[in-house]
């Protein structure tokens, strides 16, 4: 039976309804992550916009890793004892990790590798946006677009990790695109499902488009951001930053690269900056796993 990609399979629809809301601080994460001096009050207020995140940060601060002698019960207390930067890094990492977590029994993608791919894409989109002279205030949305571009895969893994394993295996075995294999097993692609989830979360239209179009960037809306996400997604795959389950790396969108007047040096420079960010992230993941948070 032919599947109409515009129809939303019911199980995908149900999975979207069950997804927890995205952290309300996700849009601010990029902003605070790149500030040299964050106002302590502002930091606490931003984290507290998300009660789940607040709870996680306090639990982490009380883990043996931080070795704080007295029991920390509030964010202001954590900031006084550990400093603004430590609490900021902790909150930023926790918020990003919770958003793109595929931690689930039988998940065909390792949590750590998938997170690395998403984080590398987020940082890469920000860096490429910067190179392309995107105004500072818009770089936050580039970061979030990179982070969330594969969010549709999180949905599929939540629906059926075993079936998504088949998607990946068949895509590898037959050399077909992941989207094609997803269509066969879930009735839509991760770009489509991710776009639907982004709409449900009421994310900015430009983010919805970037998620939907990251394999086939459209010349509509914020065309520049779509191209950036597509290029960085490929750069991360080709450079081996993390793992998104997609065996195919599309051509480097030569026309986009040339239309943006990008030199290979720029892309190489960006690729060179990513490992440090990823290492930092994977260390944090180790802490979270060790302390079962």
């Amino acid at each position: 039976m032919a599947i109409n990609p515009s129809e939303i399979p019911r199980e995908v629809e149900r999975a979207i309804d069950k997804m927890p809301p995205i952290s309300p601080i996700i849009g601010k994460v990029n902003q605070i992550a790149h500030e040299i001096e964050t106002c302590p009050k502002e930091l606490v207020k931003i984290i507290m916009l998300d009660p789940v995140l607040t709870g996680k940060v306090i639990r982490l601060v009380n883990s043996s890793f931080y070795g704080v002698a007295e029991r920390v019960q509030s964010l202001p207390q954590a900031v006084i004892l550990l400093g603004v930067n430590t609490v900021k890094n902790l909150a930023v990492s926790t918020a990003l990790l919770s958003t793109v977590s595929v931690k689930q029994k039988n998940s065909p993608l390792s949590s750590e590798d998938f997170w690395k791919h998403c984080l590398a894409s987020a940082v890469g989109c920000r860096l490429l946006g910067q190179s392309l002279k995107v105004p500072e205030e818009e770089l936050g949305i580039y970061f979030v677009a990179g982070l969330l571009h594969d969010i549709g895969k999180v949905l599929f893994i939540k629906i059926s990790p075993d079936r998504y394993k088949k998607v990946i295996d068949e895509s590898r075995k037959f050399g077909v695109s992941l989207a094609f294999s997803e269509m066969a097993h879930f009735g839509c692609s991760h770009t489509h499902a991710g776009g639907l989830l982004a709409r449900k979360w009421r994310l900015d239209d430009s983010l919805v488009t970037a998620i939907e179009a990251h394999h086939f960037p459209r010349q509509s809306g914020k065309a520049l951001m779509n191209k950036v996400v597509a290029i960085i997604n490929n750069l991360c795959k080709q450079s081996g930053f993390g793992e998104s389950g997609n065996p195919l790396t599309e051509e480097m969108f030569a026309d986009h690269v040339s239309s943006l007047d990008l030199s290979s040096e720029t892309l190489i420079r960006i690729a060179g900056q990513l490992p440090a960010e990823i290492n930092k992230a994977s260390e944090f993941l180790n802490i979270v796993q060790e302390h079962k948070i």
């Binding site: 002698a69 509030s74 202001p76 006084i80 004892l81 430590t86 890094n89 990492s93 260390e283 180790n286």
Partner: protein, 306 residues
Amino acid sequence: MKLRFWGTRGSIPSPGPSTVKYGGNTACLQLTGENSECIILDAGTGIRLLGLALMETHKSLPPIHLLITHTHWDHIQGFPFFVPCYIAGAKIAVKGPVHFQEGKTLQSIFDVQMQYDFFPVSNAQLKADISYETLDETLFEIGGIQVNTRFSNHPIRSLAYRFEENGKTVVYTGDHEPYYNLFETKEGSGSEDDDLLFGSAGSTVDSANDRFVDFIRGADLLVIDCQYTPDEYPALRRGFGHSSWDYCLDWMKASETQKMVLTHHDPTRTDEALDRMYDDICMAAKEKGLDPERIILAREGQEISV
């Protein structure tokens, strides 16, 4: 116990004619107890001379325990010039804290300092038997001396050390700034919500500062970070991770410390400026009912016994 100062300066070495009296090398102290083991506190540039002295006075080197308060440059930069590192058979146990979330070990930080871009000999090429151990708040023993550690307040994770032997106590704070209320606003400027959110911050600060005073309580000798004057701190230098002498005096009184040595001198402070600062300290000490003779400024080469 005997304590000798090999480096008294904070931040960066400051050699020259204006720092001859108090010294220009960065943080390094040597603690000697009843046994022959050698305890070194911090590896600022002062450790170079200490290494040479050890080579001169010992036919065979004693076990060396290098306790690092934290890994900022002025506390580790002398390590590559510490001659015992190059002696086969020398045993050096390096211990200290590592700042969280950076995914580093104490050894990897020392390795980086000696990578080829910065220094011609790598850490792996050193001939001594060097071990590394990351410390948190803990209690251990070195040749009969009880060592207790406590976190201090500094931009990266830092430890203060307390040493006890035969009923005598020496405390070295490393770099430390009083815990302070980061959420304080000028009176009347905060909203009711702010009061609710940050109202208890003051008591967190008080209890963290009390905990620090408890750690130094009853010290026979307290070596304390005193980089700033009250004119500089808190007005200009809050958040830099160092204290000013007025706080040190208050802590000395509150902790009933017998003798206090102020160290980690600011690199801009000349001998003359330190002498002037000392006069101010003595005056303030008298006003607080403290005996100025029990307070001294650390000088390179100085030795104090307790």
